[in-house]
């Protein structure tokens, strides 16, 4: 499975921010959740931004309903991402549902073929190092405190946006899709001040409707 190996290698490059963010999640949420729940949350929910979002609500004294909806709104982006990935997955409903669980932002982005299609093996391969580092990182932070210092001081929070920009510039045909990219960014920026976290990115997918005009 050469594509899976290639995906694994591509995913490896993005374990650095994950290795940094995992422990900071563990350290930050341990007082709210306890170490066991923090680690199990990373294994089962397996979506960093949503985990941060919902625990932030709990820590601020919010109830279960608002904590869960904060997390699910942030994960709402996986709906359009799953639709785009769907034709690449295999098998019956159960297997397709299981394979879709491997989608994370970085592996989904890595699996792009540039023509709107996706490579399933690239996605699965790229998720393996991401998952290992997220789980191990959470455990290190929750059990052992921060060993790596402040991820912001190391500039690690700048890595993911730069990665997404690189994919946008290198992998997309911006002569065709550039208007949707600009419109998506504009929608997201306008919504950040007024919409709940997560909604700006979900709403940006509406910019893809420009594609209805052409084929």
């Amino acid at each position: 499975m050469p594509q899976m190996k290639e995906g694994f290698k591509a995913g490896l490059a993005f374990t650095i921010p994950t290795l940094a963010l995992g422990p900071s999640f563990g350290v930050l949420v341990e007082p709210v959740l306890g170490a066991t729940a923090a680690i199990l949350m990373s294994i089962f929910v397996f979506a960093g931004a949503a985990q941060f979002g919902s625990v932030t609500v709990l820590a601020a004294g919010g109830g279960v309903a608002s904590a869960v909806s904060a997390g699910l709104l942030i994960n709402g982006r996986f709906l359009p991402m799953g639709l785009a990935m769907a034709p690449a997955l295999r098998g019956g409903p159960l297997r397709r549902a299981a394979e879709a669980q491997a989608m994370v932002d970085a592996s989904w982005a890595i699996a792009q073929r540039g023509d709107g299609g996706f490579d399933r093996e690239m996605m699965l391969g790229a998720t393996i190092p991401q998952a290992a580092c997220w789980w191990a990182g959470t455990a290190i932070g929750a059990l052992g405190g921060s060993l790596i210092g402040d991820p912001r001081a190391l500039g690690l929070d700048a890595m993911f946006p730069a990665f997404y920009l690189a994919l946008l510039v290198y992998e997309m045909d911006l002569r065709v899709t550039g208007m949707s990219a600009l419109l998506g960014a504009a929608i997201a920026l306008c919504l950040v001040p007024i919409a709940p976290p997560g909604i700006p990115v979900v709403a940006a997918s509406a910019a893809a409707l420009l594609g209805l005009r052409q084929r």
């Binding site: 919902s54 397709r96 190391l154 990219a181 997201a188 084929r215």
Partner: protein
Amino acid sequence: MTAVWVTIGLLTVGTVAIKAAGPVALGGRDLPPRLNGVVARLAPALLSALVVVETFGHGHELAVDESAIGLLAAAAALAARLPIVVVVLIAAVVTALLRAL
């Protein structure tokens, strides 16, 4: 503590459902041809939204901090056609240096 476990349980079920929805609903079928143009534009729209929200969004505030300069440096590296891993490292190094000043 119960609230924590209920939150984790519901968030798990909801996230699994959201991720599975598209692939299960579409089955193995290709998308209707009319939608091909839309799907081809989903990735660019979502990627550019992630770029700006993660760079400029701080809760409900929009702000330009060191990571925005890091992103500019990454854009310059992209214009020079450097490999993706190098581009990403440049963004982190520039951001970290500015924060250390």
